[in-house]
Subunit: 346 residues, 2 copies
């Protein structure tokens, strides 16, 4: 009955990042405890001796996950892990989570149990307390909202905005595998739709499926950096693809970013499976998303220290802002990076 506005602009015209920027531009914070509001992996509150970190994510069926191949228990696990990743991406320690879900009557108590079992398992493994949430019905589908809480010593906080020219760009683990895992699942789903007597063949692909369906967050990185005596200058988690995250770091740090294709950590199984699927593994690493690795920058002076950390790759360096965001290809061409990361409105 009530309409506030007669104009109509489609959401996909702005895209996810565009919409968030559109909605939140001009928001000012007034509370003395608010140190960082919108715009980093987590908000930062000054609670005295330490900073409190808060991050929240919403995951919707059919947009973020497909229950035809994502088991609910894995989904519960992943919902927690992807939020903890945002706390680790501030160089913080995750301490608590809240888990909210909206479920339609298509789901049984047993289905909701499976989801919650997965969430509890992740909370247990990562050592965080489940301290709240909400459980309600929805008209259709499964919706999830998780809020993660953490803390960090004030001198250890790493935001997106501290990268300096000549800093080294580092990333944990390997990239592109979750995306290739998703493509495998989508392929088998399409085959299954054509002929439901054909069972999916994922033999030898466990690693890719696990990176997609049951990823882990980099809880251990903080301790490794501490042991090495490193405080990163900037940090972000790789959820939307490396290219997109590099551009976030660059934009927030007022700097350029240069990476090298031959330095990208890509698992051999990702490379061979990408080929099998007719995909480019470097592009999967740059634009695939859902890696939940941590991208961070450290001072040049920390080169030897960071090189010695297992599971961390140095992939490039921070440049002057004017140099933009580039990748030097294997053929030594300089390619401009563009953010083709995950856009939930496409």
């Amino acid at each position: 009955m009530l309409e506030e506005n007669t104009e109509r602009t489609e959401l996909e015209k702005l895209g996810e990042f565009g919409l968030i920027e559109h909605l939140t531009s001009g928001i000012e914070t007034k509370q003395p405890t608010t140190k960082i509001g919108i715009g980093d992996d987590a908000a930062v509150l000054d609670i005295g001796d330490k900073y409190l970190l808060i991050s929240t994510d919403m995951l919707m069926e059919g947009v973020h996950f497909d229950l035809s191949y994502a088991p609910l228990k894995h989904l519960g696990y992943k919902s927690v892990v992807v939020n903890l990743s945002d706390i680790y991406a501030m160089n913080g320690t995750a301490t608590q989570i809240t888990i909210s879900m909206a479920v339609s009557n298509r789901f049984s108590v047993e289905a909701v149990d499976a989801f919650y079992e997965g969430a509890k398992l992740a909370a247990d493994i990562y050592g965080v307390d489940i301290i709240g949430g909400d459980t309600t019905s929805s008209l259709s589908g499964f919706g999830i909202s998780v809020t993660a809480i953490g803390e960090v010593e004030k001198d250890k906080l790493a935001t997106r905005s501290g990268a300096k020219e000549n800093d080294l760009i580092c990333v944990t683990g390997d990239l592109g595998s979750a995306y290739i895992g998703l493509q495998l699942l989508e392929r088998e789903k399409a085959i299954f739709k054509e002929d439901d007597k054909i069972q999916p063949d994922f033999s030898g692909k466990d690693y890719l499926l696990e990176k997609q369906l049951k990823p882990e967050a980099k809880k251990g990185l903080r301790r490794m950096l501490d042991n090495a005596g490193i405080t990163p200058t900037a940090m972000i988690d790789v959820s939307d693809g490396l290219a997109s995250e590099l551009m976030h770091l660059g934009k927030m740090s007022d700097a350029g970013m240069a990476i090298y294709e031959d330095k990208l950590p890509i698992d051999p199984l990702t490379i061979s499976t990408a080929e099998e699927l007719g995909l480019d593994s470097s592009i999967s690493a740059l634009n695939g998303g859902e890696d939940y690795e941590i991208l961070f920058t450290v001072s040049q002076a920390d080169f030897e220290k960071v090189k010695a950390i297992e599971g961390v790759s140095i992939i490039g360096h921070v440049t002057d802002k004017a140099a933009g965001y580039v990748m030097v290809s294997k053929g030594e061409n300089v390619i401009q990076l563009s953010a083709q990361g995950w856009n939930a409105f496409k």
Copy 2:
């Protein structure tokens, strides 16, 4: 492809509270900062000098709101306010919020703007910072998740579990009006469906519609209690109906509750409109829900002090656990209360 469990129990068999209890029973907290986890209006974290409060709610289109009569700007406002109410119900001060939303392509940028404008207005009026959130698409409908953050001095915290025998039961404002407002809107919607040339007639009913569509939270209560020198022994916000909240307080405080029908604060407009709709206003107050008033208990010694606070009614007293949860009716009958509050799974 993957099914974890072959049994099927319908969600409505457990209901909302039953499902939450089923999922969360046995959850233990291990972090030293977790003082109260699941089970109160907000979780309580020990951050040093003060307690940090965190509460989260999920609101789904078609379950919690009907966009055929709830304007999106009001919905944005209400989504924030109902979460702040949970912070005030711990005797706390609200400081920050995160706002997440999932929207289908049925909605335009202008629609999302209207929602967010309402949320920003509430944040501004209540003096809280918007520090984060998530914006994504959904396959259908509008989903909202808000997390509110607050703080409270350690000696001022009021939980659900501190009510003692002989304490006075008090409630702010008036009850049942939001429920009657909803019934009015539903009636007019039904009439409009029959004949869309008939425009809704809400003349003189503004108060009831406002309580339903754009409620306010009791931010001012804390200051009034402080000025009166009162720290409540227990507190809860009235979101699911008075009866349900009394039973929560009783259960958590290991006590009985006795209230008096003739003491229930019910607005004359609520009474007359309930009559017009063929409803009982006392039952609307007991079971209606969405009042966002604060129910609290104070020591008998504070009787004179609490009586002097404007906008607060003393409606009964805490009894021995064995006496159960009862209302003494206007006809002086003792009626057992049952929680027929809001159940999102019905």
